[in-house]
C-alpha cells in the first residue's frame, strides 16, 4: 500500500552577519513556490564567525518560528548556507585507468574514479561538508558524460568544501536543538550564483561576488561547473566602520550616510559637495564633505575587490600550476556579477570594472515574489534554487498510524 506522495517542503536559512533570512517553499512541478519568508537582524555573529551562540540560537529560533507560523507548516528539515572563511575549499581529484580490453568507459569506471577522489582525507580537525562536481577529463579532454566514450585515463575532480569540526557541530547542534534536521549545507557563493547567474553565464564563465555585511564570497564558474571559490573576511560592515572612524560619527549615522550618499567611486567633483547629516539643518546637525565619504568608501570597496581579484588569481594559479593567469574578458566572458547587500552601493559595478578589468553588473535574484528581488536576498533565494537542483528533499509520504505512534514514543 503506497500512499500518494505529498508535495515536498523545502526550508532554507541563510545566517549572515547582518541579517538572518529564511524561506519556506513547496516543490510543485519541479519548481519552488514560496509559502512564507522571515527575516531578522542577526545577533551574535561578527565578521562571519559566531561570537555568541546563545544569541544566535535565539535569533534563528525566532526566524524559524516565524516561517512556521506564517505558513502553518512544521519545519522538519532545513538547508543551511555555508559562507565565510570557515568554509575552506580545495580541489580533489580521482582517476582511474580505463581497462584496456574494451577501451570504453563504463559507469563503474566513473564511480570508481569518484570513490578514489573522495578517499582523500580532509585536513586535521576538519570535516568534509560538500563535494561539488567539476569537469570530468578523459585523456585530458574535458567531457560531459564519459560513459561509453573511448579513452585511457578518466579523471574526475571535485571542489571539496571542508569546515572545522567544532564549527560544524555547533551549527548542526544549534539546529538540532530546535528539533530540526539539517538536510544539507550549501555553499553560499554557489547559492548566490544560482539565484543571479543564468545557465548561459555559467556555461561561458562568470565570477559571482556576493558581498555581504561580514564577508565577501566569490565563486568562479566555467563550462557550467564550479572552477573555484573563496572568501574574504571583509564586508559591508567594514565600509560602515571606515566611515564611522573617519567622520567620527556613530555607527548608525555612518550606515545611514553610506546608504544615502555613499559611492564606490570617488570623483573630483564630490569634494565640493556638502551634505547635512539630518538634512533638516536642525540643532545638532552636522555637515560633511561628500568627498570624504566617497573617498573613504571607494578606497575600502576597491581594496576589497582587489583582494578578491588577487584571491581568484592565486587559486587559479594553484589549479593550473605553471601558467601565468590573467583575468580578462576572454577567460570570463560573462564578467562579474555583483550581489549581496553591499552591491547596493552606488557605482559598485563601475568600481569593479575599474579594478578587475572585467565587465560587471549587479545581479538580482530571479524569483517569483517581487519583494525578494533584491541583491541582499540573493543568498536565501539562491539557497532554495540550489537545494532543488542539487539535493532535493526526500519525497514525503503520509504516515500510517503505527508510524505516528512510534514517532510519539521515539526516544
Amino acid at each position: 500500500m503506497t500512499s500518494k506522495p505529498l508535495p515536498s517542503l523545502i526550508a532554507v536559512i541563510d545566517i549572515g552577519t547582518h541579517k538572518t533570512a529564511s524561506l519556506l517553499g513547496q516543490i510543485i512541478d519541479g519548481k519552488a513556490r514560496m509559502l512564507s519568508f522571515s527575516e531578522r537582524r542577526t545577533d551574535g555573529v561578527v565578521k562571519g564567525t559566531v561570537t555568541d551562540l546563545e544569541k544566535l540560537t535565539q535569533c534563528v529560533h525566532e526566524v524559524v518560528n516565524d516561517i512556521e507560523r506564517g505558513s502553518g507548516r512544521a519545519v522538519e528539515q532545513i538547508y543551511l548556507s555555508l559562507s565565510g572563511p570557515a568554509a575552506e575549499g580545495e580541489r580533489v581529484k580521482g582517476f582511474v585507468a580505463v581497462p584496456a580490453h574494451d577501451g570504453k568507459v563504463t559507469a563503474k569506471d566513473v564511480s570508481d574514479a569518484i570513490a578514489s577522489a573522495k578517499r582523500l582525507e580532509p585536513p586535521e580537525g576538519r570535516t568534509t561538508i560538500l563535494y561539488m562536481r567539476q569537469p570530468t577529463m578523459l585523456d585530458n579532454r574535458p567531457v560531459g558524460n564519459p560513459v561509453g566514450m573511448a579513452g585511457k585515463r578518466l579523471e574526475v575532480t571535485f571542489w571539496r568544501v571542508t569546515m572545522e569540526e567544532g564549527n560544524m557541530r555547533m551549527r548542526v547542534g544549534m539546529v538540532n536543538g530546535m528539533s530540526i534536521r539539517v538536510r544539507d549545507f550549501i555553499l553560499a557563493s554557489h547559492a548566490a550564483a544560482c539565484a543571479t547567474a543564468s545557465d548561459a553565464d555559467k556555461q561561458g564563465g562568470v565570477l559571482v561576488i556576493d558581498m555581504g555585511a561580514g564577508t565577501t564570497d566569490w565563486i568562479l564558474y566555467y563550462k557550467e561547473h564550479i572552477l573555484c571559490a573563496g572568501s574574504i573576511p571583509v564586508g559591508g560592515e567594514h565600509l560602515t566602520n571606515d566611515l564611522s572612524v573617519a567622520l567620527r560619527i556613530s555607527r548608525e549615522t555612518a550606515e545611514d550616510l553610506k546608504l544615502r550618499f555613499g559611492s564606490a567611486m570617488h570623483r573630483e567633483n564630490d569634494v565640493n559637495q556638502t551634505i547635512w547629516k539630518d538634512g533638516d539643518k536642525g540643532v545638532g546637525d552636522q555637515q560633511f564633505n561628500r568627498g570624504t565619504i566617497t573617498q573613504v568608501l571607494s578606497l575600502r570597496y576597491q581594496e576589497t575587490i582587489e583582494f578578491v581579484r588577487k584571491d581568484v588569481i592565486r587559486r587559479l594559479e594553484a589549479i593550473f600550476p605553471g601558467h601565468a593567469v590573467k583575468l580578462d574578458q576572454n577567460m570570463i566572458p560573462s564578467g562579474v556579477i555583483l550581489t549581496g547587500g553591499s552591491a547596493n552601493l552606488a557605482d559598485a559595478s563601475e568600481a569593479v570594472q575599474q579594478v578587475t578589468g572585467l565587465s560587471a553588473r549587479v545581479g538580482v535574484p530571479n524569483f517569483e515574489n517581487e519583494s525578494l528581488r533584491k541583491p541582499e536576498y540573493a543568498g536565501v533565494v539562491g539557497l532554495m534554487t540550489a537545494a532543488i537542483t542539487d539535493a532535493p528533499p526526500p519525497v514525503r509520504r503520509p504516515r500510517g498510524f503505527l508510524a505516528q505512534l512510534k514517532e510519539l514514543f521515539r526516544l
Binding site: H61, V64, N65, D66, E68, R69, G72, R73, A74, E76, K118, R119, L120, E121, P122, R126, T127, T128, I129, M163, E165, M168, R169, V172, G173, N176, G177, M178, S179, I180, R181, V182, F185, E407, L408, F409, R410, L411
Partner: protein, 324 residues
C-alpha cells in the same frame, strides 16, 4: 538502528577513510518530530515514552510502599480507634482488652495483636490491619458453638459454663447471649482431661461433628435436643458395638396427646446414616400407632450391622421407657 548494530558499530577512531569524516557520519541527527500543535512556538520536543515509564515506575513504587506501610509497625498511635467485626458474639470490649494488653498499648504490633487474639479459643482467625491514620481494623472469625458443658469446679463456686465448638475445642463463650447458651444442648456424662481451654473431652471427636451436622442439616431436630450423653460413647471405633450417643429430647417440644419421646440413641459408628433415616421417619406417626401404651419411649436409631439370616438387621425401634 538495532541493538546489534549499535553494539558492534565500527569505532570512530579506526580509520575508515573520509566516510568517517563526512559531517553526516559525525553528527547523527536524532530529532523528534514536532507535533502540529507546536508550530511557531517553543520547539524543543521530547519523546513521551520516558515520561510514561517514569510515571508508571513511580506509581508502582508508591503502591508498593502503601502496601508495605499497612503491614508496618511505625505508625503513630492515634486516638486508639478500633473498627471491629466478627461473625460470632465477641464484643469490641473484649478485643480492646486484648489489644491494650501490653506495654505499648494501642500502638502494638499488628502481628502480636493477631497472635493474642487467636490465642483465645473462641477466635478461629483474626484479621488485624492498621490503617494509615492509626486505626485498627479487626475482623474476627469465631468458633461456632454446637454444645455446652456445665461444670462445678468446686463447692461454693458458681457453675461454669463452657461452650464446645465443632472441632472439639472449648471456650468461654464471652459475649454469648443467655438465650443462645440455653438453647445449646448440653454434653453430659463425659470423661475429660485437662481444663479450661485445654479441656479434652473423650468422645468429643464424635459428638461435636455430630452436633454440627445436626445443627446445620436438621435445625428443627437440633432445637429439640437438650443434652447429649456420652456415657456409652467409647470413641470412634467402628466395631465397638454398643457405643452410642444418647440424645435427650426436650419434653416441652412435643404434643401432649401422645406418648413423649424422651431419648434418641444414635450409634457412634453410623450416626450419619441414622440421622438421614431419622429425617425420613415420621416419629409422630410411630408414636400414635395403636399399641403404644407407654408414656415415654426411647427411639433407638442405632443400626447395628449384624447381618446374618438368623438375626435380621433391626430397624429403628421405639422402646418403652421403663417407669421408675
Amino acid at each position: 538502528m538495532g541493538l546489534f548494530d549499535d553494539l558492534f558499530r565500527k569505532r570512530r577512531d579506526a580509520f575508515m577513510g573520509p566516510a568517517d569524516r563526512d559531517w553526516r557520519a559525525l553528527v547523527p541527527q536524532d530529532v523528534n518530530r514536532v507535533p502540529e500543535g507546536e508550530i511557531g512556538r517553543k520547539r524543543a520536543v521530547r519523546s513521551k515514552l520516558p515520561t510514561f515509564l517514569a510515571a508508571g515506575f513511580f506509581a508502582v513504587l508508591v503502591g508498593l510502599l502503601w502496601w508495605a506501610v499497612d503491614e508496618s509497625t511505625t505508625a503513630a498511635p492515634a486516638a486508639g480507634s478500633l473498627r471491629f467485626k466478627t461473625d460470632g458474639f465477641l464484643t469490641a470490649d473484649f478485643v480492646k482488652k486484648v489489644v491494650a494488653n501490653g506495654p505499648e498499648g494501642f500502638g502494638r504490633d499488628v502481628r502480636s495483636i493477631k497472635t493474642d487474639l487467636e490465642a483465645d479459643n473462641q477466635v478461629v482467625a483474626a484479621d488485624v490491619r492498621r490503617r494509615s491514620d492509626g486505626t485498627l481494623d479487626i475482623a474476627l472469625r469465631e468458633r461456632l458453638a454446637v454444645a455446652k458443658i456445665v461444670s462445678l469446679p468446686g463447692k461454693g463456686t458458681p457453675m461454669q459454663v463452657r461452650l464446645v465448638a465443632s472441632d472439639g475445642q472449648t471456650f468461654a463463650g464471652a459475649g454469648y447471649p443467655e438465650q443462645a447458651v440455653r438453647n445449646l444442648p448440653e454434653i453430659q456424662h463425659f470423661r475429660s482431661s485437662g481444663s479450661d481451654d485445654k479441656l479434652l473431652i473423650e468422645g468429643i471427636e464424635i459428638a461435636a461433628p455430630f452436633l454440627l451436622a445436626v445443627r446445620t442439616g436438621y435445625p428443627n431436630l437440633y432445637k429439640q435436643w437438650s443434652a447429649v450423653s456420652l456415657r456409652d460413647c467409647f470413641g470412634a471405633q467402628e466395631d465397638s458395638p454398643g457405643s452410642n450417643l444418647r440424645v435427650t429430647v426436650r419434653p416441652g417440644t412435643q404434643p401432649m396427646d401422645r406418648p413423649a419421646l424422651v431419648e434418641i440413641v444414635f450409634s457412634t459408628a453410623n450416626w450419619r446414616n441414622e440421622l438421614m433415616l431419622l429425617g425420613r421417619i415420621n416419629v409422630d406417626e410411630l408414636l400414635r400407632r395403636p399399641g403404644t401404651t407407654s408414656q415415654a419411649y426411647v427411639l433407638k436409631m442405632s443400626i447395628q450391622n449384624r447381618t446374618n439370616a438368623n438375626s435380621p438387621v433391626p430397624e429403628p425401634r421405639l422402646v418403652p421407657l421403663p417407669l421408675r
